[in-house]
Point group: D2
Chain length 344, copies 4
Amino acid sequence: MKTAIFGASGYTGQELIRILSGHPEVSLTAVTSRRFAGKEIAEIFPSLLGITSLKYQDTAPEEITKIADIVFLALPHGVSMEIAPVFIRAGKKVIDLSADYRLRDLGTYEKWYGKHVSAGLFKNAVYGIPELYREEIRETALVANPGCYPTSIILGLAPALKNKLLDVNTIIADSASGVSGAGREPQIGSLFGEVDGGFKAYKVGKHRHTPEIEQELNRLAGGKFVISFTPHLLPVKRGILSTIYASLKKDISIADLYSLYSSFYTAEKFVRICPVGTFPNISSVCGSNFCDIGLAVDPRTKRIIIISAIDNLIKGAAGQAVQNMNILCNWKEDTGLQMAPLYP
Amino acid sequence: MKTAIFGASGYTGQELIRILSGHPEVSLTAVTSRRFAGKEIAEIFPSLLGITSLKYQDTAPEEITKIADIVFLALPHGVSMEIAPVFIRAGKKVIDLSADYRLRDLGTYEKWYGKHVSAGLFKNAVYGIPELYREEIRETALVANPGCYPTSIILGLAPALKNKLLDVNTIIADSASGVSGAGREPQIGSLFGEVDGGFKAYKVGKHRHTPEIEQELNRLAGGKFVISFTPHLLPVKRGILSTIYASLKKDISIADLYSLYSSFYTAEKFVRICPVGTFPNISSVCGSNFCDIGLAVDPRTKRIIIISAIDNLIKGAAGQAVQNMNILCNWKEDTGLQMAPLYP
Amino acid sequence: MKTAIFGASGYTGQELIRILSGHPEVSLTAVTSRRFAGKEIAEIFPSLLGITSLKYQDTAPEEITKIADIVFLALPHGVSMEIAPVFIRAGKKVIDLSADYRLRDLGTYEKWYGKHVSAGLFKNAVYGIPELYREEIRETALVANPGCYPTSIILGLAPALKNKLLDVNTIIADSASGVSGAGREPQIGSLFGEVDGGFKAYKVGKHRHTPEIEQELNRLAGGKFVISFTPHLLPVKRGILSTIYASLKKDISIADLYSLYSSFYTAEKFVRICPVGTFPNISSVCGSNFCDIGLAVDPRTKRIIIISAIDNLIKGAAGQAVQNMNILCNWKEDTGLQMAPLYP
Amino acid sequence: MKTAIFGASGYTGQELIRILSGHPEVSLTAVTSRRFAGKEIAEIFPSLLGITSLKYQDTAPEEITKIADIVFLALPHGVSMEIAPVFIRAGKKVIDLSADYRLRDLGTYEKWYGKHVSAGLFKNAVYGIPELYREEIRETALVANPGCYPTSIILGLAPALKNKLLDVNTIIADSASGVSGAGREPQIGSLFGEVDGGFKAYKVGKHRHTPEIEQELNRLAGGKFVISFTPHLLPVKRGILSTIYASLKKDISIADLYSLYSSFYTAEKFVRICPVGTFPNISSVCGSNFCDIGLAVDPRTKRIIIISAIDNLIKGAAGQAVQNMNILCNWKEDTGLQMAPLYP
C-alpha cells in the first residue's frame, strides 16, 4: 500500500516516517515540507540516516493523490482543513492528525480554534480511538486522529463512564506532557534552558483539547457535563501522564474496579491495566503504542483516581494513526507497532 | 549564636550546612552522622570544599547540648522523638525537620507513622509555617518544621480557606516533587536510570503528609474535612508544584482573588503572587526560599485552581527551618536567606 | 532456537529480554536471577508487561543446558568464568557479556580484574565485534561480547589503524557514557540527585576497559602501544560518545578520509559514517544497534578527530550480543535488530 | 557605585542582574534590551519577581553614561565594539563580556570573527582572568571578560605551563558545556527535544574560542604553539568541564603536582584544587564562582590529565565580570560572590 505524509517536518512527522519505514505492508512514497523541500530526511533527522532515502518535497496535494492511497496529514489545525478535501474527493483515505475534524460541532470548533472552511466533512470523519470506535473507523475515509491529552484521558475514563460509576460533574483531569508535544518550532518556552529542571501548568482552564475531551466523555457517559483539565509541561521528551479524579456514585472495591477495567480492555493489545497497587510511569510506555492505566479507590474521600500513561508521539499521535491505518486496511492491528517500550 | 545539626548526612542536612555557612549571625559548631563520622563534610559533599572545614561526628545529644543553643534535627521520623527531649530538657531550642511533632493528635500520628515515645512534647511544639504562626513560633522551644508537600499546599490554600471561598469537601491537591525529596539513600527507585524521562504517581491515597495537610487545612477553615492528595515523582532534583482544585462557594473574579491573595501575603518576603494569567514554575523558585502562587478561576466548572511552587529543600525544609530560627532569635526574617533563585 | 539469559536482573539483561522477545527466530525459555527468583519479569520491569510472561528463576546452569541451545551470560566479571564452562562442556553456544573472556593474556586479565579460574577457555573465545571478526565468530562456541567503551573506540579507529594513518603513540580517547552503564544496583553515585546536571570524569587512567581497548587496537595496527582513555559520566540514560584524537602520520584530506571509512564499512548494516562536516549525537543512535562515526582532519594541529556514538545497552551490549547470535546461527545479521533510533 | 548592563536580555544578562541585585556595594541603574524595552525584568525572567523592579529600556549608550560609572556589556561580538568606545571616551569603566577585546592581534580577530571597528582600544584592554592578571585589571578602564571555555582551560593549565612541565605541542582540550552557553535565542539546536538525552561535539577544530585559548596559553608558556580544542554540548543547563591532556616533559609525582597547583592558587578564593584521586563535577560548582581543578599523572602514557570545572554563566561569564568589577573598585574580591554551589 502506498502512503504519503503531508507536513512531515516536525516530531510527529518524523515519528510517522520512523514507524512507516518499519511497517511491512506499506511503502512511503512521499513526504512533504515547505521548509525542508529538497533536503534529505536524514539531513533534518540524522537518526534516520540509512533508514530512509526519501527527500522532502513541496508538492501540491493533487500530485500526491497520484502516488498515495493513504495520506497522513501532520499539519497544524487550520491547514489540514484545506488539504483533506482534495484527498477525499480523489477517493483516498485520510488520517488527519490535526484537530480539524475531531469536533462534531462547528460552533464549538470555531469558538476554540477559529473559522472552519470544510465543516461539510465533519459527518464523514470518525474519531480515531480504535478501542472505542473500531467498526466506524473501518468504514470511513477520514479518520480524525485524536489529540494526545484526550487519548490518555478518554481511555482512562471509558470503562468507568460506560459503567456509570462516576458523578460526572466532579471529573478533574490533571495531565502532564513531555516537551515534544509542543513541536519542533524554535521558541523560547521549549528551550532546554527553560524546560530542564522545571515543571509548570499552562493554558489553565483554556487548553483547546478541553472541548475534544468533553465531547467524547459526554458521548461515553450519555450526558452533558464539563470537566476541569489542566495541562502541565514536564522536563521529558516523550510521555503524557493523566491523573484523573472523580467522586464515585456507588461503592466499588479496587478488586472489582480492576476486573471491570481488565474486562473492558481484554481484547485490546495496546491497553495494559497495571496490577492493583501499582501505577503507570511514562517511562514504561516510552517508545511504544501502549496506554497503561492504574487504578485506586480512596475510601476516605469516596473518590476514584485513574492514572493513564502514553507516549504522546506514538499512542498520542503517530502510533495511533498507524493503528487506524491498519484498521482501515484490514491488517492485524499491531502491524508495524510491536515495538516494546525502550527502558530505561 | 551556636547551632548544630543532628543527622546531617542527607540532602536536607547538606542544605542546612550550606545555608548556615552563609548566615551572618550563627556559627555551626557540630554536624552529626553515624555513617560518616570522622569524615570531612567536603569529602561527602565536594560542593562544600572550602565552604566549611567541619567534620562529621557521632556524638551523643547530651554532648551537643554543651556546644549549641539551637539544634536542627534532620533525622527520620521515629528518631527525632528520641533526641528532641534531650535538648528541650537542657533548655535548648529545637527545630525538628522530621514529622514527629507536626501532628497534634497522638492517634493520628500512630495510625500513619507508628508508635510515638515523646508525645508529651506535642503541646510544646509549634507548626513552623512563619506566614501563619509567626507569633507562636517566636515563643516556642520546639518548632515542628513542616513537610515539603504540606508547605506548598497550605500556603496555596490559606487565603482562600480563611476567606471561606471554597466548598472544602471538594479540595484536590495534585502535587509533584523532585527526587531530592526521597533523600540520598541508595535505592533503585531514585536511580537516574529509573527517574529520568519518567513521571509517575506514588502512594496514591496513602502518603503520610495527608494527615498533616488536613490538620492544617481544617484549622484554617475551622472545620473537619478530608482532601485528596496525590504525590508524583518529577525527573528534577529540586522543586514541588501543587495544583489545587476546589469548587467555589461563591463567585469571585480573578482580579478579586488576586487582590485577596496579594493582601493576605502583602507583608511576606517569601510568598510571591504571580501576575494574573501567569503561573509558577518550580525552576523560578529553585535555590530560593520563595513560595510562588498562581491563581485561576474557571467559570465553566466554577472551580478555583491554585498552583504553588517551592524549592522542596529550601522553603520545603532547610530554608524554612532557618526562617524559623530567625524568628526564634528575633533576627530579620530573611537573614541568610536572601539568595535569588538560580535561573536557568 | 531456544535461548536463555543467565543473570537477567539488570539493565543489560532487561535489554536482552526486550530484544529477544521481538526476535522472530528464537524463543526465550529461561531467565535467571538469584535476587528476583519467583517474580514475574514485568514486576521488576513494568515496561515488559504483556511482552513476556516469564518468571525469574534461580536455576543451576546444568539445568539450563537442558532447555537452551544458546545462552547469554549477563553476569559480573568473575562470575561468568564459573558458569561458562558448564555450557561449553554441554556443547552449548555461549555469548558472554562480561569481561571474563575478552582478554587473551592471563597476566593482563589478572592485573586488572583479579584471579581467573577458567583461563583455559581463552583460546576458544572470539572477541565479538562482528564488523571485524565475523568469520571467527561464526565458528566459535564462546563469544566474548565486547565492552561498551571498547566497541565505540575500536569501531572508530579500525579503518585508520588498518590503513596506518596514525602515529599510534598519540592516541587519546575521551569518552562519555550514560548512567545505565553503571548498572541497576542502588548506589549513591547513580542517584538522580547526583547525576542530573552533572558531568565528571572517573577512574582517570584506571578504567578496566583500557587493556581491552589496547589489545584490540594493537591487533588492528599490528604493534604494541598504549593509549589514554578517560571515561566520563553523562546525565543521560543511554549512549556513549567517544572523541578520539591522534596525530596523522601522513596528510589526508577529509574527503579521502570519508571515502576510506565509507569503503571500510560499506557492507555493514550497523555502522553509519556521518556526512562530512556533521558529527554523531548519542540521541541519534538511542534505541538502535547503530554505531555512528564522524570525522575531522585539523590541518592546524595535524591531528585527526574521530567521533563515534553508540547506544551502550544495544551496540555496546545486548544488541551486539544478538548480532553475534545471528552470526552463530547463520541468520540475517540484523534479524530482530531493525529498530530505528527513537528520536527525539 | 552605579552600574548598568547593556544588552541584558539573555542568560548572561539575567545572571548579572541576579548577582548585582545582591551585591552590597552597587546599585543597578539601568538594563537595556531592544527587544524587551518597556517590559519589567520579572516579566521576562519570573525568577526575579520581587528581586528587582527595573524595566528594560532601549537607551543610547550616551544616555547610560550619565547614570552609570561601570558598565557591563552583555552583547554579541561585533556589537560591543560599537558601544564600548562611547563609555571609554566618557571616562567610564567597561567590562565587556563579548569577544571583541579579548584578542590582541587584529589579524587573528578578523580571521575568526570578522571586521573590527575599534581595534584602537586593544591596547587599553586587559584580559580579565583575575587569578593571572589582577594588577593589570586594577589599572584598566576596559576589561575583556574571558570566554567560558577559555577560562576553564587557562586556569587548568596555568600552573603547569608556568612551570614548564608540558610538551606544549601535545595539548588537547576536550570540553563540554551546558546549553545556557548557546544563549536564549530560540533555535532548533537548543530545544529540549534536541538536547535532552543527547551529547555531541560541535564546531570541531573551528570554535572561535580556539585563538583566545592559544593566545593566553602561548603567553603563559612563553612560546608559540597550537592546541586541539573540541567543544561538546551537554544536556545540562549550566557548567563546563574541560579534560586536558598533555605529554609531560619531565617526570612528576601526583603529590608534587598537587602541591604545585595548590601553591599556585593558594591565595585564590575561587580556585579549588580537588584532593588527589578526586575529580571535579560541574554539579559541584553550579551556582558558584568556583573553578575546581582535578589532577592525574598517567605513568603508562607519561601524560598529565587536568580536569577543570566551572559554572559557565558565573566563573565563565557574569561572576568573573563581577569579580573584575570588585578589583576595579578595590572591594574585597568575593563581594557579592560568596554563594556556595547549589547542590544537588
